[in-house]
């Protein structure tokens, strides 16, 4: 009863009305801030997207216009860059896409499985030598790739793996990329340890904990890793360059490198057209998988 009286007094009070007004003003300000934020993002978007526009524009220009005129709009649309570019090389891009798809899908699966295994061990399991091996793992990331290229080539040559996809795929099933291990370690360590312990008491083996607790709770990290892994493998050209000899087994990025001859006849228009197309699968995957990152909200907020 007493409190009601007080409330009534507050509403009648001019100060309270002022407070109300301030609140209202703040709402307007929030709205304006949101608008500004959008404006900023749009401008930023343009800066970010400009090169792609340029790339698309170039892919639609006749060969002899691409470099003479750097405006975005072509004088006429050269769609043939796409249609002819697809079949411009000795092997059709259909084959290159198929090859890339095989290598990429296997590599992504391999990366996610093997790296999350290693990361789980480093982040959650206690064993002698953990710090030592973690240090070694970090070290493998620090040596410039170019100097291990040749010894590695010789190794794979002796295994009889050159000119097959094995050198591209097998290392990924063996957690060769420390980046993903370290990434997952950092995310796994954020998961409350009591969940592992609860699962342990619930009768879970370490593998079951990994599979039923850690993995489902790391979807944002796994999604991120999947996206990176896919993009990097899809765009990787150094390993395919070194290990693939037969043009029929080339991947898309390697095929793109066949268009340009610094010393002779190049086909820039077709190269740009195929470059644009090569982004499509990656973009689709990106848009699809970033949902995993968003869904992260659902799994967080333990306490």
């Amino acid at each position: 009863m007493k409190t009601n009286v007080i409330e009534a007094a507050v509403i009648a009070d001019p100060d309270a009305r002022l407070a109300h007004e301030i609140k209202e003003r703040q709402r307007v300000r929030d709205k304006r801030a949101k608008l500004l934020k959008h404006l900023f993002l749009i401008v930023l978007s343009f800066v970010m997207i400009y090169p792609l526009l340029w790339l698309v524009a170039s892919s639609l220009k006749p060969e002899n216009e691409i470099f003479g005129d750097l405006g975005l709009w072509p004088s006429r649309f050269e769609w043939s860059n796409y249609t002819e570019g697809w079949n411009a090389l000795p092997v059709s891009f259909t084959v290159f896409y198929k090859n890339s798809a095989i290598v990429t899908v296997l590599s992504v699966i391999g990366n996610l499985l093997s790296c999350s295994f290693a990361a789980y061990a480093f982040a959650r399991l206690k064993f002698n030598g953990r710090t030592f091996f973690f240090g070694l793992m970090m070290m493998t990331m620090m040596l410039p790739y170019h100097v291990v290229l040749i010894p590695q080539y010789v190794l794979f040559l002796n295994l009889g793996w050159v000119d097959t996809y094995l050198p591209l795929v097998v290392p990924r099933f063996l957690a060769a990329d420390g980046f993903f291990i370290f990434l997952m370690v950092q995310f796994f360590r954020q998961i409350p340890r009591e969940l592992d312990e609860a699962a342990m008491i619930d009768g879970c083996s370490p593998f079951k904990i990994y599979w039923a607790v850690i993995l489902p709770l790391s979807l944002p990290a796994m999604g991120t890793a999947a996206i990176f892994s896919l993009i990097w493998v899809w765009e990787d050209f150094l390993a395919p360059l070194i290990y693939l000899n037969d043009v029929n087994s080339y991947t898309v990025p390697l095929a793109l490198r066949m268009f340009i001859d610094q010393e002779g006849q190049s086909a820039f228009g077709q190269m740009f057209a195929m470059s644009v197309l090569s982004l499509v699968p990656v973009l689709i995957f990106f848009v699809a998988f970033q949902k995993l990152i968003i869904r992260g909200i659902a799994t967080s907020g333990m306490k």
């Binding site: 949101k34 900023f40 993002l41 978007s45 970010m48 997207i49 090169p51 792609l52 093997s114 295994f117 290693a118 061990a121 399991l125 064993f127 002698n128 091996f133 070694l136 970090m138 070290m139 493998t140 990331m141 620090m142 040596l143 410039p144 790739y145 170019h146 100097v147 291990v148 010894p151 590695q152 190794l155 099933f173 063996l174 060769a176 980046f179 990434l183 950092q186 995310f187 360590r189 954020q190 409350p192 340890r193 370490p206 944002p220 990290a221 999604g223 990176f228 765009e235 340009i260 190269m271 740009f272 470059s275 982004l279 990656v282 990106f286 970033q290 968003i294 909200i297 967080s300 333990m302």
Partner: protein, 297 residues
């Protein structure tokens, strides 16, 4: 003994794929490269033992080695903080509220998708050239520009800008990290009337510390190893006037252009030591600012 097995089995079982990969695929080549760093090796004929010759030459005679170090350190010093700041800033903008976020996220990742392709090299030279977009914008505000990318004093910063512009991967990692911060922490702070800045300092930064740490370490490693962007933009030469002579560009040219794989290996191991020192420093300081939720040691 049984206790020893019980303690270690699970860890080693999970580590097995990595161990196989490390011992059978990685370790050999790494050791070979270490061996080669003590040899003269032109890749066509067999390596010839040269003791510390490569290292001696590097530190006593090789002016370009020091130049490459200077270029690389400059790049690391500028690009790592700027790129992380850009990535974190945009990630935080994208973390809350807006409905069109998915679209923005894809757009902001685009530059990273384009990577360091020929197209980017052409475009970058164009944009930062004498008559490029940058100078056109500058002239609108009355500043006379110059050939940013062709002036040895400024060319490195165009690569820094390129690195900043391609902030997609750290951004994505930050986003994933931000998703892990419980919303109710912010709600509580909101109710307490904590300012946005304080929320950032008291909630976001500490909660994100493991992810910031990851990005810092990885971006530093990557920055030291930066190769493709500098390589394609300078047509592999490090021009103008060696101002884009990134360490790995120099290393690559020594190896594959001048057939000195032994020397290149020595360069690589020196770089490894430098990076290792920085990483060790980061790990050593991390216990003062990176805390893991519910972690017991």
């Amino acid at each position: 003994m049984r206790k020893f097995f019980r303690r270690n089995t699970a860890g080693y079982v999970f580590l097995t794929p990595w161990l196989i990969g490390f011992f059978f695929l990685a370790l050999g080549p790494i050791l070979v490269s270490l061996y080669l760093s003590f040899t003269r090796y032109d890749m066509v004929s067999a390596p010839v033992w040269d003791g510390l010759g490569n290292y001696q030459y590097m530190f006593e005679y090789d002016r370009r080695f020091w130049k490459a170090l200077e270029v690389t350190f400059t790049f690391v010093a500028f690009s790592v903080p700027l790129r992380l700041a850009a990535a974190l800033g945009v990630a935080m903008l994208l973390d809350k509220g807006l409905r069109t976020i998915g679209l923005y996220r894809a757009i902001f990742y685009l530059p990273s998708l384009l990577g360091a392709s020929i197209a980017i090299a052409l475009l970058w030279r164009e944009m930062f050239g004498l008559n490029g977009v940058i100078n056109q914008v500058l002239s609108m505000v009355g500043i006379t520009g110059k050939g940013w990318i062709t002036d040895p004093d400024t060319s490195i910063y165009t690569i820094v800008v390129l690195a900043m512009w391609q902030f997609g991967s750290p951004m994505l990692i930050f986003l994933a990290g931000l998703r892990g911060i419980p919303r109710d922490l912010y709600e509580a702070a909101e109710i307490d009337g904590t300012s946005r800045f304080r929320q950032f300092r008291r909630i976001t930064l500490p909660m994100l510390a493991p992810v910031i740490f990851f990005n810092l370490v990885l971006q530093t490693i990557e920055a030291f190893k930066t190769f493709t962007s500098a390589f394609i933009i300078s047509n592999g030469t490090g021009a103008p006037a060696d101002s884009l002579l990134f360490y790995t560009v120099y290393l690559f040219n020594e190896a594959f252009k001048f057939f000195r794989m032994g020397y290149a290996s020595a360069l690589a191991w020196v770089l490894l030591l430098i990076i290792a020192a920085f990483t060790a420093l980061a790990f050593a300081t991390s216990k003062y600012w990176v805390h893991y939720e519910n972690e017991r040691d």
